[in-house]
């Protein structure tokens, strides 16, 4: 009886092992087939991209150079590859060359194809949006403006760039309004949009938003203004700095002022250098260093004894970086300072500057 039971158990174990082995083999075969299929698809896509490139590149570069050329016949299956290639060339160009490429794109029938792509996968939708911008399809402004309400950041950025290509001036308020409403962007992404728009108009529009935005949105707005790269915002910033009691806003304003280094803003930085909030004093010290006015050296020397170490550090860096006081004088000053914290801050900044200079010199020798 016991022997029969043991034999039956062994049979079950063998069957389970065989079944598991068969399943593993089947899974391996399926994975192998899937891998092969994906490789074949990738190879076919690569062949198609190469063929499309061979057919379209001569026409695209000839048109960009101002020579006559007809677009090659567009096969339906080639649309995404051709449109991607077209967009890559258009992305590199501006001026008349871009306009000529836009004409070629319209002649090739990209407008209809791009609209069809808007209803497909995300990557194809982005390709369609990009192409609509490059062929300057102004009739589809409302469609593209609608896409600015999409939550997906990549789609949003592509639509903003397309609108900027259609009409940079009209795009400023539309894009700026939506830009202010989002907080998931990165300055590097924004630069790609903002460089297509008139920077002064963007900065001025964003600066106007400062006065109507709730305090918690102001730091984000200031980062946007900084990314615009235009000092056109400075008059609005000065007005806001004169009335604002919010320390985070003041610190942000001083950071932007330091970025543009307009000596007209030195008075704001001087007023804020003794602000009760250390974040403001840090930015005021940096700003005074950027303005590099000799009369402000005394204010920065006072900050070397600040209660917050980061203020002492920035003040020392500002003094060394501004270059209004010679290195020898700063070294003498460091020896004379009665406050050991102030002495440490200045010594460290002088050493860091000397280190940076030696790295620069070594780099030049290696080169």
């Amino acid at each position: 009886m016991t022997g029969a039971l043991a034999a039956a158990t062994a049979d079950v174990a063998v069957h389970v092992a065989l079944l598991a082995g068969a399943l593993a083999l089947l899974a391996a075969l399926l994975l192998g087939a899937l891998t092969l299929l994906l490789r074949l698809r990738a190879a076919r896509a690569e062949r198609r991209a190469r063929r499309v490139s061979d057919e379209w590149t001569p026409a695209l570069v000839r048109v960009a150079a101002g020579r006559d050329s007809q677009p090659p016949a567009l096969r339906r299956s080639d649309v995404p590859a051709a449109m991607l290639l077209f967009s890559q060339y258009a992305e590199a160009l501006t001026g008349e060359a871009h306009r000529r490429l836009a004409d070629l794109g319209r002649e090739a029938g990209f407008e209809t194809c791009a609209l069809e792509l808007l209803a497909r996968s995300k990557s194809e939708r982005m390709l369609g949006i990009m192409a609509l911008g490059h062929i300057r399809a102004s009739d589809h402004w409302p469609t593209l403006a609608e896409l600015l309400w999409k939550r997906d950041l990549a789609v949003w950025l592509t639509a903003a760039r397309a609108l900027a290509r259609l009409d940079p001036v009209t795009a400023v308020p539309v894009v700026a309004r939506r830009l202010v409403a989002r907080n998931d962007w990165h300055p590097a992404h924004l630069t790609r949009v903002l460089r297509l728009l008139p920077a002064d108009a963007v900065a001025a529009k964003l600066a106007q938003e400062l006065s109507v935005s709730p305090p918690d949105r102001i730091p984000a707005l200031l980062r946007l203004i900084e990314a615009s790269g235009s000092p056109a915002c400075l008059p609005d910033l000065r007005r806001l700095a004169a009335v604002s009691s919010d320390s985070e806003a003041l610190a942000g304003i001083l950071r932007v002022m330091a970025r543009f280094a307009d000596p007209a803003d030195a008075e704001t930085a001087r007023r804020c250098i003794t602000h009760p909030h250390d974040g403001v004093r840090v930015q005021a010290s940096t700003a005074l260093g950027r303005f590099a006015l000799h009369r402000d050296s005394a204010l920065l020397i006072d900050r070397l004894s600040d209660a917050a170490w980061w203020v002492r550090q920035r003040a020392a860096q500002a003094l060394v970086g501004a270059g209004r006081v010679s290195r020898a004088d700063l070294e003498r000053l460091s020896d004379l300072l009665p406050d050991p914290y102030a002495r440490d801050a200045l010594t460290a900044a002088l050493a860091a500057a000397a280190h940076d200079a030696s790295i620069g010199a070594e780099g030049h020798q290696v080169a």
Binding site: A65, G95, E96
Partner: protein, 141 residues
């Protein structure tokens, strides 16, 4: 469309394009070839330095973001080496920040343009850099 330099001067002038983006490189090759320049192309900074020292082009058009040897290092090495120190360099960069342009000029770039670029402006700047007056102005660092 800019015209090639007057008097067929371009026919004897060589331009080295150092650009890793195939599309921009194809565009530059066609534009410069069409304008009458002899064009060589290097897809990275290391090949660019080799071609610059071996071929002694009349002008270099280069990107800043390059594989192996980046644009700033390449500029410094071009300026530090005697055979390439006086070759005018036009930087055509995708980096649009004013700081990058200033840094490129400090590193020895003769002129800077950012992408996207206008071919007409590019050709005009190249013609200007290759004019006898500009060649005399190049100051090796």
């Amino acid at each position: 469309m800019s015209q090639p330099p007057a008097g067929g001067a371009a026919a004897s002038q060589t331009v080295l394009v150092v650009e890793d983006d195939d599309h921009v490189a194809a565009l530059l090759r066609f534009l410069l070839d069409d304008a009458g320049y002899a064009v060589t192309h290097a897809p990275d900074g290391r090949a660019g330095l080799l071609l610059a020292s071996s071929g002694r082009p009349d002008l270099i058009v280069m990107d800043l973001l390059l594989p192996y040897v980046d644009g700033f290092t390449m500029l410094a090495r071009l300026r530090a080496a005697e055979p390439t120190a006086d070759i005018p360099v036009l930087v055509l960069s995708g980096r649009s920040g004013g700081d990058d342009v200033a840094a490129a000029r400090r590193a020895g770039a003769s002129d800077c343009l950012t992408k996207p670029f206008d071919p007409d402006i590019l050709l005009a700047r190249i013609a200007d850099l290759l004019s006898p007056a500009a060649t005399a102005r190049v100051d090796p660092q």
